[in-house]
Symmetry: C2
Subunit: 410 residues, 2 copies
């Protein structure tokens, strides 16, 4: 069994070599919270060892973020942070890689007026549009991973002794990302290869649509012509491989914007904009969200759906088996990076340009013409369970079982 | 006697109300290290209470900074951080205020190749030229204050138990900045008024030159026509008062660029660019540094003097009595913000535009024509002691004693 320091070292190695895959002479941007200093310092050292020219760390402080929502004037949330977007875009255009260490408290903004949060997200989303396009077309290498903060750990393990919560979450993360294995790099290569086999199989089938059936869910999702199933392992504009999420268990593609019909019911809570949305259902007609309900966080869901025109449509459909290791841990992380990799999921908002043939070099207009949704937001929510059955409908009308009782049927 | 929390609260109040004097609707930028979170969070809350629109905190991590010097390639230090300068300039032009919480380890960069440090400082200094001009012409409100870090506290109190060092430095800082007084705001108003009396007296004298005499020091500093003695309390372009340093004990003006002759010997170590320069002497002819020596940090001093043309000349001459409270504490802070306020000092590099009549609105060319030095650097060093005598020479040749044995003669 590896020590904490060995597992943390493995984790940092995975992030730098498999995640962003830092190249000699490259700039790396790391976004992290101030209490992730130990991991950040390891990441920085390994990035320089890999030949990084500069590692720029943007530290944030949740207490400072929350104070803004509690005390700043309304206009504070209506102005775009032009310098931040400008920096990200300049760095992306110069080939930088982007690593984000997630440790947010899942309900950091509980009690804040939802309009403030929505205004901020809209302003920020608009300012970051160009950077997001780069990201969604694989122009840059990027990766999201996580580190525990005390508040997040307390949310995940509310019944544990406070002094144990952070370490318990570290252990759960290390297991989920294979950092507890003696050769995590090899384990990741093997894992990505297995996900690639699944996406290859789905690409060969060229389904016309998918039909999801589970308690509370009866949803048909048409797929655009030329859609591509992908896994989180990608290749950027310079030809460098990277993996956008650590962990990742999904294969995913883009739905046809106007081809979603029926109803879906969530199976896990969703932390969005510092608030929890839970036990919610959404109904679609010709792709558009026409109705929704939520037992918790209805107003937050309402703000999400009304973010812009594209937030009334889906941008991603992802398949994750119920027996995935994260799901089998039975831990509810209240953080999408983990919970989406324990469950089939959909995303409200923009689609990834690489999920359609030729999409990486298409204009926004061409992508729209192909039925690819566009939005300033992209928010995954979970619908998978052991009771999920999924059928693929081929262009000649045949029905193929893809998932049986939550797991791959083939 | 006030509790730690009360003194910290006083300190934050001083920084926001007296230091940058945050105005309603203003943006405040705070630069701080990640271990100053407790103070930063207080500053942020008080800034929002004063009506700030946005408080942007730029956290840095010394371990990350040091790793860059140890591992990055040479070219990393030859490129300007354009986004950072761009952000500072944009914010300054939009009326933001700037607060820097200093906690650097005085010898953070010990052992790093001096050329790397000099390259970084030159690149950074050039990129920040415009922002520095704004600062030196009082266009924006800015303030520097300090918070202990473990490394800094260990340097100041090397013989104390490690677990006591940080608290001892906090106590020393609180005393130096009057945060231990029941009404620190009033104490600061009274203090600034007293410094203003001294600068008014010197302005009335209109000395042609100053003559500094102490062991190892025999230096004549001519003053430009129209020079203005100032204290750290200023008024920005919008008419808002601010105090650039907490603490401050000095009155200061600009020397005539080509009018400095003789030799000066340091009386305290200087932490510059993460290295210590100690027991050094500098000789001047017609303003220019023609010789220097140092028992410690010679190479660092050499890099400073050779930074650019202006770093061969002086930009500030400042008077601080030996009986100033910081000096009487007998604590050597290894940090210029404190040590310069315990000692008469000079600055190598650029002068402040507000130190000459009409300078705030003069062009660079006009300032140069008045004998005001310009440089990408400005580094104070300490020459005061109980043995310092200072004489003022009037334009009609009279000699007036200004300091006797380290203290004001009038």
């Amino acid at each position: 069994m590896l020590s904490f320091e060995q597992k943390l070292d493995n984790y940092a190695t995975l992030a730098i070599q498999i995640g962003v895959n830092v190249q000699p002479g490259q700039t790396l941007v790391i976004n992290a919270m101030i209490d992730s200093g130990q991991l950040v310092q390891l990441l920085v050292r390994k990035a320089y060892e890999a030949g990084a020219k500069l590692v720029k760390v943007n530290y944030t402080d949740e207490a400072v973020s929350r104070m803004r929502y509690d005390h700043a004037s309304e206009e504070s949330f209506l102005e775009a942070p032009t310098w931040f977007a400008g920096e990200m875009i300049e760095l992306a255009e110069n080939g930088a890689a982007f690593l984000t260490v997630i440790s947010s408290s899942p309900d950091l903004l509980k009690g804040v007026a939802p309009e403030r949060i929505a205004n901020h997200q809209r302003t920020y989303g608009q300012a970051m549009a160009k950077y997001r396009q780069y990201q969604q077309a694989d122009k840059v290498s990027w990766n999201g991973l996580a580190a525990p903060s005390p508040d997040w750990a307390a949310k995940v393990f509310p019944d544990a002794l406070p002094e144990n919560q952070v370490n318990m979450l570290w252990d759960a993360i290390f297991a989920a990302v294979r950092a507890d294995q003696p050769d995590p790099i090899q384990a990741w290569h093997d894992h990505i290869d297995k996900l690639q086999v699944k996406s290859d199989e789905l690409n060969n089938k060229k389904f016309q649509s998918l039909h999801f059936v589970a308690p509370g869910t009866d949803l048909t999702v048409e797929l655009p012509e030329g859609h591509i199933w992908a896994q989180a392992g990608s290749v950027n504009e310079q030809g460098t491989t990277f993996v956008a999420n650590i962990p990742t268990e999904e294969v995913f593609t883009a739905p046809l914007k106007n081809g979603v019909n029926g109803k879906v019911t969530s199976t896990k809570p969703l932390s969005y904009g510092g608030n929890i949305i839970d036990r919610f259902s959404i109904s679609f007609e010709n792709g558009r969200i026409v109705d929704f309900s939520a037992e918790e966080g209805y107003e937050t869901l309402e703000r999400l759906v009304n973010m812009d025109e594209g937030s009334h449509y889906l941008g991603e459909v992802a398949l994750v088996p119920f027996h995935s290791p994260i799901s089998q841990s039975n831990i509810l992380y209240y953080t999408t990076l983990f919970d989406e990799n324990a469950s089939c999921h959909l995303a409200i908002g923009s689609s990834y340009a690489f999920n359609i043939d030729g999409g990486k070099t298409m204009s926004s207009e061409d992508l729209a013409a192909k039925g690819m949704n566009q939005s300033i937001t992209h928010v995954d929510f979970m619908m998978g369970s052991s009771e999920m059955n999924i059928y693929g409908i081929t262009h000649d009308g045949a029905k193929v079982q893809i998932f049986t009782d939550g797991n791959w049927a083939f």
